[in-house]
């Protein structure tokens, strides 16, 4: 990793002597580094939260997958034909990926919490269920109901998403909030790096004055500051990301029941996303400082 005082390796300018004109130390330097680090750290957490929420909403969505149940109540002798008829209807309904009759055994298992294991499902005039999975297009529930009413009189369509949807919505909202927090922090980072640059420029007004006096062009002065600050932001972001990643990794949430919020954390390739953070923050810093430097140079005319 490039350290902020190390002039090598960052490809903004090959003229490494150039940013020597900006004092290498000082607290505005530390400030930029720290700001980037803190922001990167927080972004890592927001990202972890957002990804966890996204995973959750994905899982729930998949579990429901527009899931629905068709319930058929019919006299025992008609049950077979009605089931077959219903399956036929469902198979020809656009948007339905799969329709499967739930076996008596499965039905027994589903009902067990309510009736205990001894319920004679076969002997009872209880309805049979057909599990429906829709495909990505989704199906027209209203149209299906009308068709069923005509062709399978004993069928009632029960749409799970009616009551499970809010769960997915909630997870999606956490995901959206996470993204919102990330955007917010990126904006905050940019603003802070801008302010830190301007603070540094103001603190280095003498440097600017001296450089102007000896005939340095604005582009020369600006490049020195921009390079220095971009490097600092990159360095800080790398540290913040590293520490954040470590903290997320160490967070004791793995062995928890993974059912609802499967723990903060990144999975496999998601860790690689983190590698993009420092460069992104450095790019933000680059534009923020360039903007700040130009404005400050106009002001310090």
């Amino acid at each position: 990793m490039t350290t902020p005082n190390d002039d090598s390796g960052f490809p903004i300018s090959h003229d490494t002597s150039r940013d020597r004109v900006v004092p290498p130390t000082g607290f505005t330097a530390g400030l930029t580094t720290f700001t980037s680090a803190a922001m990167a750290f927080l972004v890592v957490f927001a990202l972890a939260l957002a990804l966890a929420a996204n995973r959750l909403s994905d899982r729930w969505s998949a579990a429901l997958a527009g899931g629905a149940t068709l319930r058929i109540s019919a006299p025992a002798e008609q049950m077979g034909s009605q089931l077959a008829q219903a399956i036929k209807v469902l198979k020809t309904t656009p948007g339905i990926a799969e329709a499967r009759v739930i076996t008596p055994d499965e039905q027994q298992a589903l009902l067990e919490p309510w009736f205990g294991p001894d319920l004679p499902v076969d002997a009872l005039p209880i309805p049979r269920l057909i599990d429906i999975r829709e495909d990505s297009r989704g199906y027209d529930a209203q149209g299906l109901r009308l068709r069923l009413a005509a062709e399978v009189p004993g069928a009632v369509l029960d749409d799970h998403s009616r009551w499970q949807g809010p769960l997915v919505k909630a997870a999606q909202r956490v995901w959206a909030l996470g993204l919102f927090a990330i955007v917010l922090m990126a904006a905050t980072s940019a603003a802070m790096i801008t302010l830190a640059t301007r603070a540094a420029m103001a603190a280095n007004a003498q440097v600017v004055a001296v450089l102007r006096l000896i005939g340095a062009r604005d582009s020369y002065i600006a490049a020195a500051f921009v390079r220095r600050f971009t490097l600092r932001a990159l360095f800080g972001a790398a540290i913040g990301t590293g520490v954040g990643a470590l903290a997320v990794y160490l967070l004791p949430s793995k062995n928890d029941q993974a059912m609802i919020l499967s723990g903060l954390g990144f999975q496999q390739l998601q860790w690689l996303w983190l590698l993009t953070l420092p460069p992104i923050i450095a790019v933000v810093a680059f534009f923020a400082t360039r903007q700040a430097t130009r404005r400050e140079l106009r002001r310090l005319r």
Binding site: R20, P23, V207, L211, L213, G215
Partner: protein
């Protein structure tokens, strides 16, 4: 056009700070190759005059022409390029406090994109001239007042500029050293450089008159006048 006029021409120039008019009706020309002293009481406007000459201030009214160009019509890059032809010694000499004396003196070379090392020999000579050979690695805040002034003078001449504008370059140095610095400026003048020295030190001016054909500009009652032989 550059032939007919001086390096820097002022036409009916006036300068007004928020406080009130400081300089007015100045029409004069800094002739190429000449040696000027600029004198006048404290607060009369010597520094202000020099700042107009290197484009740091623009006249409130009237026109100043620097190397044939009007600074009002120059871009900041133009001004930067012009400054490379002007060596300036500021009254409160300013340096980059984190770079050592050599690097500070060589800074104009770096900013102009010239190789510092090629002039290494000259640099050493120059440092010895201003008596800073032994302080080459010191940082500016570690210099004494007079040492800073000498370093500023060295920085002003390193680019071999066409004109040197020095604001009280000997205010903090002893008599002997001031004679030596004067000698340096006189030699540069003999090489064809134009020199303008703002100073209130009349004995320095008198001493210079024995060495060089110096013209004395005097700020008096808001006007700049060419003082006669009598001082």
């Amino acid at each position: 056009m550059l032939k007919e006029h001086g390096l820097i021409d002022l036409e009916n120039v006036a300068y007004t700070y928020s406080g009130g008019e400081l300089l007015s009706e100045m029409t004069l020309s800094i002739a190429s190759g000449a040696f000027y002293f600029l004198t006048g009481p404290s607060g009369s406007g010597k520094t202000t005059f020099l700042k107009m000459c290197y484009g740091a201030l623009v006249p409130t009214t009237g026109t100043i022409t620097i190397f044939g160009q009007d600074p009002r019509k120059m871009t900041r890059d133009d001004i930067a390029l012009t400054r490379r032809r002007i060596g300036v010694v500021h009254q409160d000499c300013q340096f980059l406090d984190h770079l050592n004396v050599v690097d500070n003196i060589a800074l104009p070379l770096a900013a102009a994109g010239q190789d510092t090392l090629a002039d290494g020999a000259n640099l050493k000579e120059l440092l010895n001239w201003v008596g800073l050979g032994h302080r080459a690695d010191a940082l500016p805040p570690e210099l004494s007042g007079g040492e800073r002034q000498r370093a500023a003078l060295a920085r002003a001449v390193i680019m071999s500029p066409d004109i040197i504008l020095a604001d009280e370059p000997t205010g903090n140095v002893d008599w002997e050293m001031s004679q030596r610095l004067l000698q340096l400026l006189v030699e540069l003048n003999r090489m064809g450089k134009t020199v303008v020295i703002a100073s209130h030190d009349l004995s320095l001016i008198r001493a210079a008159k024995t060495e060089v054909q110096a013209r004395v500009l005097r700020i008096y009652n808001k006007r700049v006048q060419l003082a006669g032989a009598n001082l």
